[in-house]
């Protein structure tokens, strides 16, 4: 049985294909269109997924119920009328033109690709798709599941039990009470883009003090001991649709929202820290309720809030569950996969057995996207007149050569194998660098990523060596957990207090970013935490070989791994994007398939033709 899942029309549209219970392919549309968080119908992602299958799908499943969502939008407008007119006017054209006619849109799109799926269109609910994406590919035969999101149709948070091929929902919270929207409101207020900048707010949090926590609990949220909560809508603007927060919110936090690109102040740092503290507390309380209600030992997580790896780390350390598993594509893109899986197991009742292989999940390391052969890469190199300068390195020597470049503090673009599905670069479309370098964080931020300097980089570590560097005793293959750098590797003993910091945090952030806090300064955040990806030989043998070679040469089994993109763009998709990224930024080398390009070996005349990269705000 072939089932195609589709998510679209909000953000991060995607497609996924399941064949006989196996995840064959999954991809986000943004990787093809180069438009970050592309919400449009995922025509190219669908085309790619179907190219990996063996025929026309038996069912196509959309990741939410459009009419339920439409009802929620109309009810919201109704509740706040006449204030919601702008939101109404902005939303209606797209609903009337496309979102109400999704079956026809899907049929037409697939007809153009040569597949007749008339009468085969199905719909899961939004949180059902998230729950299915969390539980069915997990290594557990039975587990509790928890979905934490902005909003789907009506549900914002849900939990229940997964057992075999069954998902049973037990409790939910409904719009407008949403942890995702609460976090997004602070993201907006701190000058970052909603549905995009939440991870920046999370990265900013360790620089601040939690001095607004009391205000949040007193005015914004009525949080119960069981983790359920109600948001005080007097402070928010998202029901009216124009802004996430309103004047009362601004008055509560001492002034208007920060505009994008304005200097960061102490207030934004403290707000980031405060909402992070509140978020972690809510997640922990909910987790305890889930455990006491279900009695489960294992927990599966999905939904946008599940990408908050700091909260996940606390949940792992302080929460009631023995094991947790988080869907790597926890956001809406993963909804495509979840919708298809929900149909396969809940509707088609295909059997599901996980007992025999509890160590590994069914996500194949999240390497579910497109791959380019060496011949295809050679053709693209030739287009760019680069083939004569590229070395085709035998596989036996490749890891050692790349490790050597990294050991000499070169920044290496790493384009290998199938692309990742989900927001994290996990070593297929990555930029690698030496985590021991004191300059590397600044170099990567300013010359390659063109982004704010306060944000930390994530480490990759050989899975078998994790405990030598970090206080983490489980695998973290999807970079969705933070854990502290080991105490004996720290050079500073405490995170310096913020009492002496100036109101303008920009200089303070720069000073603190450049402090050497451990013997791995480029990946150690100011609170000594790191967002860890463990690399297992069975999941990613190519990256494992590079890390092993780097360890042989330097004695260090850790590297920086950051997504292969520049600010405002999604990670690279086609080899052409990778080559452009290599040429147009300060990257030193590009390992693309079997080929290795070094910038110092390129003729100056060729480099002179390259236009410097401009970037969009993200």
């Amino acid at each position: 049985m072939r089932v195609l899942g589709i998510s679209a029309y909000y953000h991060d549209s995607a497609a996924a294909l399941i064949e006989d219970g196996v995840i064959v392919a999954a991809a986000q549309e943004e990787r093809f269109t180069r438009r970050k968080h592309d919400p449009s119908f995922p025509q190219q992602a669908v085309k790619f997924c179907l190219s990996q299958g063996s025929g026309t799908p038996d069912a196509v499943v959309f990741y939410e119920k459009p009419l339920l969502k439409f009802e929620r939008i109309l009810s919201t407008v109704l509740a706040v009328a006449p204030a919601g007119f702008r939101a109404f006017a902005a939303a209606m054209p797209s609903w009337l033109q496309s979102k109400l006619w999704i079956p026809f849109q899907i049929e037409e799109a697939l007809r153009q690709l040569g597949h007749d799926v008339a009468g085969k269109i199905h719909f899961s609910t939004h949180h059902q798709a998230h729950a299915a994406s969390a539980f069915f590919p997990s290594p557990f035969q039975s587990a509790a599941f928890l979905t934490l999101d902005g909003v789907g149709e009506w549900t914002t948070t849900a939990f229940g039990v997964g057992d075999g091929n069954e998902l049973t929902f037990l409790k939910q919270l409904r719009f407008p009470d949403s942890l995702g929207l609460l976090y997004s409101a602070f993201t907006y207020f701190c000058g970052f883009r909603v549905n995009s900048g939440e991870y920046k707010l999370m990265g900013l949090a360790p620089y601040g003090e939690p001095r607004y926590v009391d205000s949040i609990y007193r005015e914004l949220i009525d949080l119960k001991p069981d983790g359920s909560f109600r948001l005080n809508q007097r402070y928010f603007g998202y029901l009216q649709g124009e802004r996430m927060t309103n004047r009362r919110f601004a008055a509560l936090f001492g002034g208007t929202a920060r505009s994008a690109e304005a200097p960061l102040t102490r207030r934004e740092c403290d707000l980031a820290r405060s909402i992070q503290v509140v978020t972690e507390e809510i997640v922990l309380r909910i987790a305890r309720t889930v455990q006491s209600t279900t009695g489960a030992e294992n927990l599966c997580l999905a939904g946008g809030v599940a990408l908050n790896c700091v909260a996940n780390g606390r949940l792992l350390r302080e929460g009631p569950f023995k094991r947790i598993w988080i869907q790597p594509a926890a956001g809406d893109a993963g909804g495509a996969l979840g919708a298809a899986l929900a149909y396969v197991y809940q509707q088609a009742k295909q059997p599901r057995h996980r007992e025999a292989r509890e160590r590994f999940d069914e996500m194949k390391g999240a390497f579910l996207g497109p791959v380019s052969t060496d011949d295809e890469i050679a053709a693209v190199l030739n287009e760019h007149r680069l083939l004569e300068f590229a070395e085709l390195i035998p596989e036996s020597e490749r890891a050692q050569r790349i490790a050597q470049l990294l050991a000499n503090e070169n920044v290496v673009g790493f384009y290998q194998g199938r692309a990742e599905f989900g927001p994290r670069a996990l070593g297929a479309r990555s930029i690698l660098a030496d985590a021991r370098s004191t300059q590397m964080q600044r170099v990567l931020n300013l010359k390659i990523k063109f982004r704010e300097s306060f944000r930390p980089f994530a480490p990759i570590v050989l899975a078998e060596k994790t405990g030598e560097y970090f206080e983490l005793n489980i695998e973290s293959p999807y970079m969705l957990l933070t854990a502290p750098v080991r105490t004996d590797r720290r050079l500073l003993k405490t995170n310096p207090p913020s009492a002496n910091r100036s109101d303008d945090a920009s200089t303070d952030l720069l000073t603190r970013v450049n402090e050497q806090r451990s013997d791995l300064p480029a990946i150690t955040h100011v609170d000594f935490s790191a967002r860890i990806q463990t690399v297992d030989h069975n999941v990613n043998p190519v990256l494992h070989a590079v890390l092993s070679a780097f360890e042989q040469q330097t004695g260090c089994a850790v590297l920086i791994n950051t997504s292969f993109n520049v600010r405002g763009e999604p990670p690279v998709g086609h080899p052409r994007d990778a080559i452009a990224g290599f040429l147009e930024t300060g990257m030193d080398a590009l390992a693309i398939g079997g080929y290795l390009l070094e910038k110092k070996k390129l003729p100056p005349s060729l480099l002179a033709e390259v236009k410097p990269r401009s970037f969009a705000l993200d």
Binding site: L67, V77, L78, F88, S124, D177, K224, R230, A342
Partner: protein, 110 residues
Amino acid sequence: MVLGALLLCWRDRSASWPWGVVIAAITLLILAVFWPGGYAPVDRALKFLQALTVQAFSWAVLLVVFLFIFIPGRWILRSRSRAVFCREKMDTYWIDRPASSDTRDFQRQF
């Protein structure tokens, strides 16, 4: 009338200046439409207004729908809206999922 409206804008910029602009615009519109005999600047203005009207038509339709359906609708369905969006303080905000959950029916769009 135009001058009066603009004066209103000038004197009271912080509060009711949008109304001054609206009054001035409506007055100019009336003048343009009913100017006896018409003349070139008015013709040009009318062409501009015609284009503007086409653009504005869809917005106007939405506004009419909004005013005539949603405001009375809100009044009629006030109790439901209140229940959904202005919930009372409770001991817990968890809601049970109904036994006949909609997650079982993949055919329905609702």
